[in-house]
Symmetry: D2
Subunit: 342 residues, 4 copies
């Protein structure tokens, strides 16, 4: 099985190349980049020294599956010809995550290049949409924050134990800013990002509608009320989301919630309901999502903490998990389930 990666030179793309290189069923045959076109991949990303492929401007050989890690807008444009010609595709960008083009435009301030494909796309969160992923040709890989947030809240929302009022307070490592942001955002400079924490996106972050869309579907309602505040903290990898929602029944116990979460995730290989508050570092390099639900009894509030490696379960690993499902390969193939620690 032959695969290609469009835009291999960012953090998600290069992580995906690394994971695919050791996947036993896959041959990575083509990788693209813009400024790097014409070079060998290890010249651009020296840590990928084993993957001695030429970086080309476009996918230059036939592939069974194409991944895109381009920025939003450009990604849909690049994938459209593949999808239309029947090649399977996984979009790691945001272009096919929202079901309607108007929502996309509102969130990303650009017109959607291929609105006709939106209804074909499946939101690539296997814990919610596994069966649909298995049969689609176009998967929209979730955003890193939505990945952690939706997995934190899905059991509570689907079971209806909380009211329609979710707050997601999320922390991210700086690799989440992407490799391309460097030239324009001084806050990515080590000297500014180190020993520093800040909230951002308070005017509306593109991941908010994505979370709201999925939580609305889970509660079978047209909308979901979600306040989402992301924060940058001084680490490279990792997302930790702390989520809050009012309990419908303020007497709901920790144990009840815990049992419900354990039951919900019992057949999902990459989500673990933990016995203690999880640490983001317990996921580094792995495809795990750790979830810890608890209850603030005084306030009658559900509090759920979840964490992932933003580049693995939050991007490249999730994409490879989706690939496995699309091609009937055992879901866990090639995906590390234990973190690099410390």
């Amino acid at each position: 099985m032959k695969v290609g990666i469009i835009n291999v030179t960012g953090y998600a793309g290069s992580e995906l190349a690394r994971l695919l290189w050791h996947h036993p069923e896959v041959e990575l045959v083509s990788v693209t980049g813009r400024s790097a076109a014409g070079k060998r991949l290890p010249e651009v990303m020296p840590h990928l020294w084993e993957i001695d492929l030429e970086v080309t401007e476009a996918i230059h050989v036939p592939v069974d599956l194409v991944f895109s890690a381009l920025p939003s807008g450009a990604s849909a444009e690049a994938l459209t010809p593949f999808v239309e010609s029947g090649t399977k595709a996984i979009d790691i960008a945001a272009d096919f995550r929202l079901h309607d083009a108007a929502g996309f435009k509102k969130a990303y301030k650009i017109d959607h290049p291929s609105p006709h494909l939106l209804e074909k796309a499946v939101y690539g969160l296997p814990e919610i949409h596994r069966e649909a992923i298995k049969t689609t040709n176009l998967v929209a890989n979730p955003g890193c924050f939505p990945e952690a947030s939706i997995l934190a809240m899905a059991p509570a929302v689907r079971e209806g134990i909380i009211g329609d009022d979710v707050i997601v307070n999320a922390l991210t490592g700086i690799s989440g800013a992407g490799r391309g942001g460097l030239a324009t955002n001084i806050m990515d400079h080590y000297a500014e990002a180190n020993e520093n924490a800040m909230a951002y996106g308070l005017g509306g972050h593109g991941h908010q509608p994505e979370i709201a869309q999925e939580l609305a579907e889970l509660r079978e309602a047209p909308t979901a009320r979600v306040t989402f505040v992301p924060h940058r903290i001084p680490m490279t990898r990792g997302i930790l989301a702390t989520c809050y929602a009012p309990l419908v029944d303020s007497g709901t116990t920790k144990q009840t919630v815990r049992d419900l979460y354990k039951e919900f995730y019992k057949d999902h290989p990459f989500v673990r309901v933990t016995d203690a508050p999880p640490q983001s570092k317990q996921t580094t390099g792995s495809n795990l999502c750790l979830v810890y639900p608890t209850v603030d009894e005084q306030a009658g509030r559900l509090v759920v903490i979840s964490c992932i490696d933003n580049l693995v379960k939050g991007a490249a690993g999730q994409a490879m998990q989706n690939m496995n499902l699309m091609f009937g390969i055992p879901e866990e193939t090639g995906l590390p389930a234990m973190a690099l620690y410390p």
Copy 2:
């Protein structure tokens, strides 16, 4: 004016020594420590090389003011004789912050050593209790999280623009764990704390009742509903609190909230209402609290972000500010108002 510091060898105590050393009205004449007794201060804390005092077991010369940076319980015990003999005292520990002994026991799991002094103590947050601080002999310096949280919420609570339902999601650097925690908490080890984020204190953190007490007073009600979730993140200094509360009038605008905050803090030298989301690093080494109020219009929710240097405005600087007030010295004397950046 002569002052002493009980337990100078922790992070709050040593920061206080550094600040007091250059205060133009103060002579630091006595510093105590337990295991370090008998040594010169620079032997124990080499960065304090100019402060060539002997570390003694107890304050050994008369002082006009004594600070205590001992752990909870021990601090009240050590301060009681000073207070009873009429010496002014500032407790940097938690012992005199809560107004009733039962609440103290619940929060800290120990009996209060001097419950009769609780009613004499003034909660040392000048932005709320300035006049009372000026005339008391016993100040309870606020906890680092409450300092940031109460300053974030006070204007909204006092003006009654929010309902009684506050969430404080707070991030702290690891110096907040204290210097003594090392032997018992493997999570303070650099290799575990670095590249790691985690929530803790989910079973009930000692700072929650402190925040609730002050917010209740501000709303002139017997109680306040507060969910408080602290998180450890990989930095040395700094607290960033992101606070959420439902607006009473969901049509309240950002500008209204902003004006209200600006008005509330206009005469307070160390609180600044910022125009953009503040960064914890913009307070490093300074006595500033930066506050940024905004509104999530979709959800009808007030969101306020605040940050401080946990060892300055969250401990030693706040204590020195209180000292200035207690002794009629201009409030800003000796306190840095611009951060070390980057």
Copy 3:
């Protein structure tokens, strides 16, 4: 093939468990710990959640190979009965690295518990002693600093292009201090180690005689003159060694040196001679050693920079590579050769 790990609860031991767990030819059947005895491994090391073994006080089932990650002295004691009864053993501690007991005592300030085994032990650096490793029953896994330093200097020393005067200036991440050091070394506290660099071991570090022994052997001389200065820098994993030595022929060019190094390492799967100064992070999580030789022409000096992940090529990965050699398994089996980056 069944293996056991003595003292799995440190950083080297747990990293080894993680690597062995996915080794296709190995079954990890027994892991020991002292304070953790009686618990399941994931209770003590949550990131190892897949390895649901009981931590026992001693290896409790027959094994084909035993690894020890105990502290020096204790390690030799624990391994001796295994070695004497014919079980193969790899010591990750320092106990069998130096060839004579007197040198051991001088370096580690304790009497060697099993001096009679010293002559059986092979220094486990495959790039120098591969054939001997294949046939021994007792491997002394190199120290992390010596691993990087010897690989940096071996080609130059063996070829005789430098004088007998080597300086190794090495930088290490804080995981190198070990997990047990916490209680006694305040410098392991995040708040002290972060944003801080310092040299240590200036009175004589235990790794200096190890480096000197191996360089002496390479130059076929009784001794080698080596100045070794380790430094702690604020990162978790990684060693970067910058080595200096006078060129015998001050006209030796960069290209000559480079060719010599490339030739020397051409058949060694885990040493790469790089085209640019290597970054420690280009080895994170991998078993690679990157080596970059160059020449300071003005000074007639060879400068070689090398780096490794101290817990992989500097400990657990090197141990597994040695295991592969001892059991006739292909050398690279189970060992990652590309780093987790960024």
Copy 4:
């Protein structure tokens, strides 16, 4: 006394503004910037909120002293008219550090804009050139690496106890890369710089001739042999230099060296000879240089470790110390001598 800063928007310039703002004898009256011209300083550097000056394109009011923190080449150009019209000037860039224009061109690959001023300039290291600084109109503020390196080696070189063969192995925090480097150097991105150590400048770093020039002068010889290898490590501020040189008399003891250093620096307020290996963090925010000389007896080698805050003693603080000397103000005025720690 009125002063101005050309290019206030970098790390050195903004640190200088912060220090000058509280200097009791100085009024900061003009600050310049290029892209920021027209804005208020706090808009560009929010942590400098008290310094509410307009950023202008050029110094727009008369000043008694001008500092330049422009990049090399541009700095000399901007300062030349001031110097020629008799205004005192301190250049924080590299333009007046080397005594001859040919050396400048070799080091910085550009023609010197004002070679005629080179002989007027005094190298601004007060510990070596204090008297000359007092009477000059043009001070060349030392580079950050040379500052630490020359102070480490000066006593040994001047006393002639070492041979002409110095190695400087230096570590720097990432703020040393400057604020402007962001757009072009991906290695300044937090995600790349964090958890990473690397050597650079191996082809010849501009600070090498500066170190060599000053050491040559100290030994009263035309040249000095210096190998200089800088390294980037993951911290924001701080330089730690570890310097090596062969002892002329291999029997020279640690105590002899130590006494010599203590004597040499006994009247210099900002250099401290420490009793233990210094930590870079013990200088953060201060104008200190810590120096620790020792001897590797086995190798007959002097080893000296020194550290500074690269933005204070390595740039802005050193510049202000020079200003004090030039204007007959007590040398320590306005300069912090104790670090912010932890």
